[in-house]
């Protein structure tokens, strides 16, 4: 456990190739979904996984995109501001929307009519766990989703997925030959992800 944590901290600043070998890490697959729900990158890492054909991957990505969007909107409403101190804090954002409604805000209507307050709370599915795997989802501010399939024992999956996002920012977005929203065929990204996630 400790060895993994420390190696991740180092890896944020050093090249992926020079990492010390990690023995206990099991990452199954990495999928990247663009903001329209299309699958733009898929790669499996552990040997012995069941093979899916590319159509299945596309369906999987599209389905997850839909479920993620639903999970964002059916998220339970955040608690209404209970005391005057919190309303004073949030007044700067809400005064423009309710200058003429003097009545105390009712919980369901206030959250439904005020999406600006609700938005920060709804990140959608962040992780999904079963007895055989754990799915970690990270969504970038621009709507690109990174899905990481790992074993349930794998710690720090959020760090791993953020590191993948970092590599995406470096090698894909700074590559002049990559066109946005298209499948990622970028050699250095492949190499970087492999150096980081493939078990030595």
């Amino acid at each position: 456990m400790n060895c993994i944590h420390s190696s991740h901290n180092n890896s944020a600043f050093s090249s992926a190739k020079r990492l010390p070998p990690r023995k206990c890490q099991v990452v199954f697959a990495l999928l990247i979904i663009n903001k329209a729900g299309g699958l733009i990158y898929t790669r499996t890492f552990a040997p012995g996984l069941q093979k899916l054909d590319s159509n299945d991957y596309l369906i999987l990505a599209g389905t997850f995109h839909g479920i993620h969007a639903i999970s964002r909107s059916i998220n339970p409403a955040p608690p209404p501001p209970p005391s005057p101190s919190t309303t004073a804090n949030s007044s700067s954002s809400t005064t423009t929307s309710q200058p003429n409604t003097q009545a105390p805000p009712q919980p369901p209507s206030s959250t439904a009519g005020n999406p600006t307050r609700r938005r920060p709370h709804t990140t959608g599915i962040e992780s999904l766990e079963s007895s055989h795997f754990r799915l970690t989802c990270f969504q970038s501010p621009t709507g690109v989703k990174f899905l990481l399939f790992t074993s349930p024992e794998q710690p720090n999956t959020d760090v791993v997925v953020r590191r993948c996002y970092e590599m995406y920012g470096d090698y894909v977005m700074k590559n002049p030959f990559y066109s946005l929203e298209m499948p990622i065929r970028v050699e250095k990204f492949d190499r970087g992800v492999a150096g980081y996630l493939v078990r030595p």
Partner: protein, 245 residues
């Protein structure tokens, strides 16, 4: 607009049709050069700074990205892009020669001389230029065994290519052509006529890319800068050598 609608409609309408939107008078000239808050532009700085603040690599990467995208959209072939990148770097090289010699002079307290021999020039590029641009020296300096006017400077991992992956259909393209342009500018400014400076991938890379990614190389981005001197430059070099210079 409500004010315009008040007067009787027919004269207003004809007036609008006859006279289109008047051309605004030309604005007085305003310089577009923006000054930082300290009112100091790049021209106000001391020329002989030896200790420079490091430049952000991602910031450079985005600028270089824009440069490549621009030239890529304008050009049709791989060699065309390389020529354009080369030309973009050329003026930098011409200025860098003088600038670096000037800085060398103040650093060592004696007047620096321009490199007049080919080897001197190559060492200047290999060491001084590379260190000024990328903070390290180039990795190797070689002479061609077959042609007497060809020299090679090897860089294992050019900084300009840090975030660039070449798509398979144009695998011959090397964006370090920009750096080759800088080198060509330096050579030309030093008085060595050049037939050209080009950037090439180290030989094995193209085939390895075509067959599969299993070939794990130590330096996948290894780049060779091929400097081809003109006949005059080589002839002059040999004349100096023959005179015992």
């Amino acid at each position: 607009m409500p004010g315009m609608a008040k007067p009787p409609p027919p004269p207003a309408l004809t007036h609008q049709l006859a006279d289109p939107i008047p051309i605004p008078p030309p604005k007085p000239f305003q310089p577009r050069l923006r000054h930082p808050s300290s009112r100091k532009t790049i021209y106000d700085r001391n020329l002989s700074r030896t200790q420079t603040t490091p430049t952000s690599l991602p910031a450079f990467a985005y600028l270089f990205h824009a440069l490549i995208t621009h030239h890529h959209s304008l050009s049709g072939s791989v060699s065309d892009i390389e020529t354009r990148l080369n030309r973009a770097g050329y003026p930098l090289g011409i200025k860098l020669l003088d600038l670096l010699l000037y800085r060398q002079q103040t650093a060592s307290q004696r007047p620096a001389t321009r490199p007049t021999r080919i080897v001197e020039l190559l060492q200047f590029i290999h060491t001084t230029l590379w260190r000024a641009l990328w903070g390290r020296t180039a990795d190797a300096l070689e002479q061609s065994t077959t042609k007497r006017n060809e020299y090679m400077i090897v860089d294992n991992e050019p900084v300009v290519n840090t975030y660039i992956s070449i798509p398979r259909e144009m695998s011959q393209l090397n964006c370090a052509a920009f750096v080759a342009g800088i080198v060509e500018g330096v050579c030309d400014a030093a008085g060595f006529g050049m037939e050209g400076v080009t950037a090439h991938w180290a030989s094995a890379q193209g085939e390895a890319k075509g067959e599969g990614k299993e070939v794990e190389e130590m330096w996948p981005g290894k780049t060779i800068f091929l400097l081809r001197f003109s006949e005059e430059a080589v002839g002059r070099e040999e004349a100096i050598k023959a005179n015992g210079g």
